[in-house]
């Protein structure tokens, strides 16, 4: 190790020379540092995505279940058969409704948490919002199944209040109704809204915390009514937060396959269709084609979100 102490002698030793080279060529250092993450992103992430995309251009031999490795668009055409198209429409509608309801419910909660909760209450609020994320997703869904069941807690409570005629009248409605809440579209909707709610509250809260109080006061001083202040000042400034939250709720609903399997009408969602075609029917091409649908929808969605400035604050 004399080389390290005596700078006049020729610098040798592998690590020393390596460090010299890297010092002289900072670009090489950059490449070496970036290579692992880029490879990770390129191979594991984009590579698998590309493999998925490739699968969707194959087709399946419907009897033996073996895949024909020949380029075809037949699998994509299958997406537009009425039954499959129903699945897409159903999922997107559910995702849109869930997102809308989440935003409406989350806004006042986030508003209170961001502007009015102080000190310890603020901590309690954060905990309260985050807590559902810490318990198991499956346990929560099974708990909801028991709450919404025909002989479940909700029915029991409504009977005690003599309000079960209200529930019966609601369940008699077409589309949203059913035999009990746990086997109706409404049940699926309630559980989706519940499960994804924290993902909506947190970004809105972050956006609202950044809105200076002075702006709201200025709006009031200039004669705006509270409603006008909300419409013209608070809401536009919070919009990026709402859009960011909606990206979570919308994409999570698009991809979920567990909630509609346990709670709902047995009608398929995109996630279930992917799961059934891939895992059960072995129809990987159609599963891949179905998996491309949320990617396309989210691409369009993100483009619109970007136009609305959802990422400006990032």
């Amino acid at each position: 190790m004399s080389a390290a102490t005596d700078t006049l002698t020729a610098r040798d030793g592998v690590s020393t020379r390596l460090s010299d080279t890297l010092w002289r060529r900072p670009k090489l250092l950059l490449v070496l540092l970036l290579l692992p993450p880029v490879l990770w992103l390129g191979i594991i992430y984009l590579g698998s995505l590309f493999a998925l995309l490739l699968q969707s251009f194959f087709s399946i031999d419907h009897f033996s279940g073996l895949i024909n490795y020949e380029f075809t668009l037949r699998t994509y055409a299958e997406l537009f058969t009425p039954a499959n198209f129903d699945i897409i429409v159903r999922t997107v509608t559910m995702a849109a409704c869930t997102t809308l309801a989440s935003a409406v419910i989350a806004f006042p909660i986030a508003c209170y948490a961001a502007r009015f909760a102080k000190g310890r209450w603020r901590a309690v609020f954060y905990l309260g919002i985050m807590m559902p994320l810490w318990s198991s997703y499956l346990v929560k869904i099974y708990a909801w199944k028991l709450i919404l069941a025909k002989e479940g807690i909700l029915t029991w409570a409504l009977e005690g209040l003599h309000l079960n005629w209200l529930l019966d009248a609601y369940l008699a409605l077409p589309v949203v109704g059913g035999n009990s809440l746990s086997v109706s579209t409404t049940g699926t909707f309630i559980v989706f809204v519940y499960v994804w709610m924290p993902f909506m509250i947190l970004p809105i809260q972050a956006a609202l915390e950044r809105v200076p109080v002075s702006m709201l006061e200025a709006s009031g001083d200039l004669g705006a009514r509270p409603g006008q202040t909300f419409r013209h000042v608070l809401f536009p400034l919070a919009l990026p937060g709402i859009v960011a939250g909606s990206i979570f709720t919308f994409s999570l609903t698009l991809g979920d396959y567990i909630i509609p399997q346990i709670i709902g009408t047995s009608r398929l969602f995109i996630g279930q269709a992917v799961y059934q075609h891939q895992g059960i029917a072995g129809n990987i091409p159609l599963a891949a084609a179905f998996a491309v649908v949320p990617i396309v929808i989210m691409g369009v969605y993100l483009y619109i979100a970007k136009r609305m400035g959802a990422f400006d604050a990032l």
Binding site: I60, F63, L66, I262, G264, I280, I284
Partner: protein, 385 residues
């Protein structure tokens, strides 16, 4: 996904070169290879871990040195997918999967001379069309049983005599409609249940085999299933969710497996099961050997084990099924008794239409609706189409 894809490509290339050798069957059993992997239905391969009384694996492992690993599958389609992927030795395939795997060259012919206990197999199963093609055997019978009609004994004072309680709107024993109180199986093979019902009630349709349907017969079955969609709130897919629904959703009746009936009865829920006048669909499972199996000697040892050991007897008690070796009912090799076998349907063999894969070139008709149409159309029916 990437690795899957590469494996898929490699397998498809390899399949071409293997195809010629795959038709050769084993001629002798050598030393065990020390391992055996089986794709099986839940509860089919038990080693005493769920219940210490039910164990038909450790004895086999001790005797042969073949360590058994199990991959559980929930549906026939899943089994076919797993076998197409490869890497497994055996599969306990039902009739709606077995022919597909034979057609896809995923399983190899079995030399029954190497299975000494073959002669004890139920004569009704030896040449069964779901594992025998052109006189060649592709598997060894494992277990069979009916898809029973499970009903709530508080709603039905007497056992229902017809499947109409799950297919058409009727008033049940307690004076209320069956709408919303019945369930159906969430698998395309359920179309055969509808066809079997029509076979009995609309003989002019000319259905002779519920798995071989012409377009008209098939349409009639789908129409019946659309009526059923109006009655069914949730289709059952997972046996345990069905069990929960019979406890909490006030279910009155559903097609089911003896497995759920046994578990619900053990829990004190008032249910019972029956095979109605129309008959029932059923499953007859066959153990089949993968074409590229790495442990064929262990697999042949398992074939003998599954017929000769306590497996047949104890599994039939565990699953509520019927042994493929009739002697296992009464010779005391396990817990099953003659009464138990009779209760599980031993004498009902003729009334049961066993699951098999619907194919275009069917025997009883000129042209039948193939299985892939069943899959997509059943998704449509459940979706309200």
């Amino acid at each position: 996904m990437k690795t899957n894809f590469i494996t898929a490509v490699v397998t498809s290339i390899a399949a071409g070169s293997v195809a010629t050798t795959s038709l050769a069957q084993m001629t002798e059993i050598g030393e065990g290879e020390g391992a055996l992997s089986i794709v099986a239905w839940a509860g089919y391969v038990e080693r005493g871990e769920t219940d210490p009384n039910f164990d038909w694996v450790t004895g086999f492992e001790e005797a042969t040195g073949c360590m058994v690993s199990v991959k559980t599958a929930n549906t026939s389609d899943e089994m076919v997918a797993l076998m197409n992927e490869g890497g497994f030795d055996l599969v306990t395939a039902s009739g709606d999967a077995s022919l597909r795997m034979i057609a896809g060259n995923r399983v190899q012919p079995i030399n029954i001379d190497l299975v000494p206990s073959w002669s004890t197999v139920d004569d009704r199963l030896k040449e069964a069309p779901w594992h025998t093609v052109d006189g060649t055997h592709y598997g060894v019978p494992y277990m069979w049983g009916p898809n029973v009609l499970m009903y709530n004994t508080e709603v039905f004072a007497e056992a229902p005599t017809s499947w109409n309680v799950v297919f058409e709107e009727t008033t049940l024993g307690d004076g209320e409609s069956n709408s919303g109180r019945v369930q159906a199986y969430d698998g395309p093979i359920h179309i055969a249940d509808a066809a079997m019902y029509l076979m009995y009630h609309q003989p002019d349709l000319g259905i002779t085999d519920p798995y071989e349907l012409t377009q008209d017969q098939y349409n009639a079955a789908l129409d019946l299933l659309r009526v059923q969609r109006g009655l069914v709130s949730r289709y059952w897919h997972d046996a345990f969710i069905q069990i929960d629904d019979f406890k909490n959703e006030g279910m009155a009746a559903s097609g089911s497996w003896p497995f759920q009936v046994n578990l619900l009865q053990a829990d004190g829920v008032p249910v019972a099961s029956v095979i109605p006048q129309e008959g029932a669909t059923g499953w007859a499972d066959t153990t089949m050997l993968h074409v590229d199996s790495e442990h064929p000697n262990c697999a042949y040892m398992w074939f003998e084990h599954q017929l000769a050991s306590n497996l047949q007897s104890d599994l039939s008690v565990w699953f509520g099924a019927v042994p493929s070796v009739p002697a296992a009912c009464s010779d005391g090799r396990g817990m099953q008794t003659q009464e138990g076998c009779d209760a599980n349907g031993l004498d009902q063999f003729e009334k049961i239409k066993f699951w098999k894969t619907p194919v275009t070139n069917c025997e009883s008709q000129d042209e039948c609706v193939p299985y892939y149409r069943w899959v997509s159309d059943y998704i449509g029916v459940i979706g309200g189409r």
